[in-house]
């Protein structure tokens, strides 16, 4: 068990990444009850936007200066695509049956992947992304935190905090809550619900761009398909934490990340379970956990509303 702290750190970092992406699912769902399956691709586009911003900088720019610019570049790209998707793909279908926008989202996700594959230079396979130079931070003998993991572990709570303050305190944030509770009444109260919906998409996309930069810095590469599995996992995290609840997204992400890391490391040590452990089974255990949680708490860990609209 001496590697436990290390595996916990791995799980936390992975979970924080899931949580950042899950925000996008949960905000959009909270307001328009749409599962935006193209969100994984919004994340991917954030990564390519950040890479483009990095490429535009003079070579040798310190990462400390480059990272904020990359986040801005990534967010510009992902927010542009997300709001365009909302305007042209989802808004025309807002009064259509629930399945129509869902299928649209899946189609959009495939189309976005293919567009990047076709038109981004050299994106037919993984393209390299700047990485942190230097060794991991050694905390104890059995715990070393990668620089990129430290980056996401610091940034994710900060982002969450900012979002929480925004939703609770700002005028737009309160309008957002009102729209989530009852769009028709909110409209009657003079809230421009279309604007609020665009804002939800944009915030989700900006968080996805932050996640994409963190992902790229960690893995040293991004590719056009990376949004697919991560998007699914983040969606799972959002459901686990209670879809519609922004804190739930982060909690769900962390729980999911920890479950994966610990199941890879320890399930096979349980007597008689050696065949059911390791990386091959981590997704299975993650979903077993999801089902157990949903059996006990159908609304998810932090979900408040009963699933009256899902």
């Amino acid at each position: 068990m001496h590697e436990l702290p290390q595996q916990l750190a791995n799980g936390l970092a992975l979970g924080a990444l899931y949580g950042l992406i899950a925000i996008g699912y949960t905000m959009v769902y909270g307001i328009v009850q749409l599962i935006n399956f193209a969100h994984g691709e919004i994340f991917m586009i954030g990564g390519f936007g950040a890479l483009t911003a990095y490429a535009a900088l003079p070579t040798g720019t310190s990462l400390l200066i480059a990272i904020p610019i990359m986040i801005v570049g990534g967010a510009l790209a992902s927010v542009a695509v997300a709001t365009a998707a909302e305007r042209f793909a989802y808004r025309p279908l807002r009064s259509a049956p629930r399945l129509a926008p869902l299928i649209t989202a899946i189609g959009l996700s495939i189309a976005l992947q293919q567009l990047v594959w076709q038109f981004y230079p050299d994106a037919k396979k993984a393209v390299s992304f700047p990485e942190f130079k230097g060794a991991a931070f050694k905390i104890t003998d059995s715990l070393a935190i990668q620089r990129a993991d430290a980056f996401v572990l610091i940034l994710a709570p900060l982002c969450m905090l900012a979002l929480g303050v925004f939703v609770q305190k700002s005028r737009s944030g309160r309008a957002m809550q009102a729209t989530a509770q009852d769009p028709d009444t909110a409209k009657l109260m003079g809230i421009n619900t279309d604007r609020i919906i665009v804002m939800a998409f944009a915030i989700g996309a900006a968080f996805a761009a932050v996640a994409a930069v963190a992902y790229g810095l960690d893995k040293g590469q991004i590719n056009f398909e990376m949004g697919f599995i991560l998007g699914l996992k983040a969606f799972t995290a959002a459901v686990l934490g209670g879809i519609g609840n922004i804190y739930g997204a982060m909690v769900g992400g962390v729980v999911l990340g920890l479950a994966e890391a610990l199941s890879i490391a320890y399930i096979e040590d349980i007597p008689g379970m050696s065949q059911l452990g390791g990386g091959a089974w981590s997704n299975v255990w993650a979903f077993v956990l999801l089902i157990v949680v949903l059996l006990v708490r159908p609304q998810g860990l932090l979900g408040e509303r009963v699933a009256d609209r899902a």
């Binding site: 001496h2 595996q7 037919k124 396979k125 993984a126 393209v127 991991a136 590469q221 590719n223 890879i264």
Partner: protein, 411 residues
């Protein structure tokens, strides 16, 4: 109104049907007078992942076969025959491969197919081709069961499909070669084995493990990764705490590159070795600079070093293809050329014309093909496997794959 629209519809359909029939009869008329001077068109099908994460390899396969067809046309290799290439995309998905196989079988001009890249895809295509008696030559499949039957591991060799050929050596050769290199030449005794659960990766990892243990080495741990996932940090930490001095990975470069990188990041400074699936520039370029010392086996001698490959490389560059020929370019060219040679033999035996049962004849002719190709001597044994068992170990040095040992495997 209703009647009128019905009338319009009927008219349209009838006109359409008439036009189609007309087309059909004209086509047949054309086939009739092929003998006077006009060339018969013969299609070589290609199936490879032309999109998706393995597209770099797939595009290389497609272009190389295209080059083989163009070269055959230019040199008038088979008088009276013009070769064309029809390339289909399988996205490395077995079901797509099967659909493509059905499509190629349906095109009566197709006399041979080059592909696919993935062993898992090939499994789904073999049956379709066998029932249509259409020859298939894969430039990249390495899973032994494809040509030697499911029980090859128990020493029972039975060729399941007589239409299946390949220019790539099997994983048995490759896995054993890798184990011998790692144990004897690199002096590693404790290996951690990871695979991606796919036909190719899991098969290769199992063969490697068996041979490594037979040689006296120790497999200190195993784990599996899931294709298209990207976070392997937990597996990487398991590798580190297992005390292994090397890692063997059965799988492809997208996961391999990430795994190698993440293992190095834990501070475990040990090399990762893999098969031809990771021997791609993307393995290095995509995961930073941490790949120094990683190893890979690949089939054949390095294309760049073979005297026979000089013309291929020059022609490929002159051909103006957008993507490089990649790891399987030479084998794909040879696979395409073997189909050309088979057609040549068939046409020669039928007094200069393509016989009606060209497909069956091509299958027969393929088993007798023998020529000096890009990758050396190209010929197939009784299982349809290549007789060429040359292998090379590559090592990452200075951010590039450098060949460190080439040998002919005999056992």
């Amino acid at each position: 109104m209703r009647h009128r629209s019905l009338l319009v519809l009927t008219t349209v359909i009838t006109t359409g049907a008439l036009t189609l029939t007309a087309c059909g009869s004209r086509d047949e008329a054309k086939t009739g007078d092929k003998s006077d001077g006009k060339k018969t068109v013969v299609v070589i099908g290609v199936d490879a992942p032309l999109t998706g994460s393995l597209s770099a390899l797939g595009q290389g396969i497609k272009n190389s076969v295209d080059l083989a067809a163009k070269t055959a046309n230019k040199n008038n290799e088979v008088p009276g025959i013009e070769f064309k290439v029809e390339a289909l995309d399988d996205q490395a998905v077995p079901a797509s491969g099967q659909a493509n196989a059905t499509k190629l079988v349906g095109n009566k001009d197709v006399v041979g197919v080059v592909g696919p890249l993935n062993s898992g895809v090939a499994q789904q295509m073999q049956g379709v081709f066998a029932s249509a008696n259409l020859a298939q030559v894969s430039p990249a499949n390495t899973n032994p069961a494809l040509s030697q039957g499911d029980n090859w591991g128990k020493g029972e060799y039975k060729r399941p499909f007589k239409t299946y050929f390949r220019t790539a050596a099997t994983d048995v050769v490759q896995g054993k070669f890798a184990a011998q290199y790692l144990f004897k030449d690199a002096g590693k005794k404790k290996v951690f084995v990871v695979d991606d659960k796919q036909t190719y990766g899991a098969g290769l990892a199992a063969i490697f493990s068996d041979e490594f243990k037979k040689l006296g080495g120790e497999v200190v741990g195993t784990d599996h990764v899931t294709v298209k996932e990207t976070d392997f940090s937990s597996t990487a930490d398991k590798v580190k705490s297992s005390g292994a001095d090397s890692v063997y990975f059965g799988g492809q470069y997208p996961e391999g590159g990430l795994l190698a990188d993440q293992i190095k990041k834990t501070g475990a400074n040990i090399p990762l070795m893999g098969g031809d699936g990771i021997q791609d520039p993307a393995f290095i370029s995509a995961s930073g600079e941490a790949n120094e010392g990683d190893l890979a086996t690949s089939i054949g001698y390095p294309v760049e070093k073979l005297p026979t490959a000089k013309t291929f490389i020059a022609d490929y560059q002159a051909g103006g293809y957008k993507d490089p020929y990649a790891a399987y370019g030479g084998y794909s060219y040879d696979a395409g050329w073997s189909v050309v040679q088979a057609v040549k033999a068939v046409v020669a035996a039928n007094s200069g014309k393509l016989p009606d049962d060209a497909r069956a004849k091509v299958v027969e002719a393929l088993s007798k093909v023998s020529f000096e190709g890009v990758t050396g001597k190209v010929a197939f044994d009784e299982f349809g496997d290549t007789t060429n068992k040359q292998l090379t170990v590559y090592k990452v040095e200075g951010g590039k794959w450098v060949d460190v040992k080439s040998d002919t495997f005999n056992q």
